[in-house]
């Protein structure tokens, strides 16, 4: 691990921060930076259908950086570091849960096509709940469906059939609603 000793103790851009520097970087985050991280953690936790996990996500991310299991590069903002790390943790946890589920199915000798497990049902319900927020606004609902399909920007606008001005206005309306809704527990 590069501790920056070759550069008078200060790591060059792109070099990883030491544990003390990580500790200090976290302690020095501004209120806005902390807020961004909190919100992103809540979104990812909701995407995992486990809202309460957002605290674990924040904690695990900091722990990995402090223990050197995840490199926090000099020049990376806290929000950037946290978002990337939390996303990769979500993938790991998801894979682990998938593997655990398969192991349980094998042990129970259930059919492998049993995709309609409790968990899958829960994901379907969550998705339905998010979309139900836009039942009164068909255009907005269509845009949210596009976002769920992974569309962004112009591809999303074309899907909505709106002109750029109308799309910008709809997007603002949708995002405010989504941030409020998806950022809190979906129960």
């Amino acid at each position: 691990m590069n501790d920056g000793s070759a550069n008078g103790g200060v790591p060059a851009k792109g070099e990883r921060l030491s544990a003390d520097q990580v500790r200090y970087a976290i302690a020095s985050m501004t209120a806005a930076e902390k807020t961004r991280v909190e919100k992103v953690a809540r979104y990812f936790a909701n995407s995992m259908s486990e809202y309460g996990w957002y605290k674990d996500l924040i904690n695990e991310t900091a722990l990995r950086a402090l223990e050197g299991r995840r490199a926090w590069l000099h020049g990376q903002t806290p929000a950037e570091f946290y978002a990337k790390t939390m996303r990769s943790i979500v993938f790991e946890w998801r894979e682990k849960r998938k593997a655990d589920g398969e192991a349980r199915r094998e042990a129970a000798l259930t059919a492998p096509e049993a995709d309609s497990t409790e968990e899958e049902i829960r994901f379907a319900e969550r998705k339905k709940k998010v979309l139900a927020e836009f039942d009164d606004d068909p255009v907005a609902r269509q845009i949210v469906v596009g976002m769920m399909d992974g569309r962004r920007g112009e591809a999303l606008r074309l899907l909505s059939g709106l002109d750029p001005v109308g799309f910008a206005s709809a997007q603002k309306r949708i995002k405010r609603r989504l941030h409020k809704f998806f950022g809190s527990e979906l129960e």
């Binding site: 790591p11 990580v22 020095s28 399909d149």
Partner: protein, 253 residues
Amino acid sequence: MSTDRQALLNLADALSEDIAQMPADELMREVAEDHGYANALADDFDRIVKPLLAQRPSWFGMLAQWISAQLAALLSPRGFAFASIAALCVLAAGALTGSPQIRERLTTELAAWTSGQKGGAGAASHEVHYEAPASPGGAAAPASPGVPAAPTVAAAPPATPPAAATSNVVAPAAVPYVQVLSTKSESDALSSYRVMQKKYSKNLGGREAVIRQSPRGYRAQVGPFANSDDAKGFCESLKTAGGDCFVITDAVP
């Protein structure tokens, strides 16, 4: 992976990208609307990471800070000589361990202490000069238990703003702060704020300062305050106690 699961992840991705680009003032305003006050999520974040940050207190840092705190008040030549000897002993101990991180840390502590001795509260009126941007980790010590609320260093905005699509740089928050000092270097700002904290402990003792980099130096700012009246009130009471300050509505004016 089921399509529903992927759909929720895609949505989380889209919202995360949006959050990264949202101006700080807008972000904080939304939090205030949704949670009652602007710092609700930031406070929650602190509660989550606080135990983790407190897990491994650095005794080198604490020792150096203790020496610094005890001797900052002793301005006599005898006190200065004792401080120099003590600091050099600690530095030598770090060097003997062969750890570059410890050496780096001790050097930083010593630099912070010596600049505190030189600057003191009067550092608030230092002429400011441009310095290269500091690392997010900075060169100063992390907060340690048992010492006054530590100043924090905010990441400086880049000289050239990155493309909007990929920018994660936090924009200055349009909330009131009180600027208490500005200096030419980060370590000066940190150590001067510590001295100010001690001198005006009734006003600053429990308050955390944000050290922000400006094109001409570093500024210690206290806040954010709920509104400008609160900020003005705080500044007035600091002035009454003998300090100097002014209210700013942007974190980096």
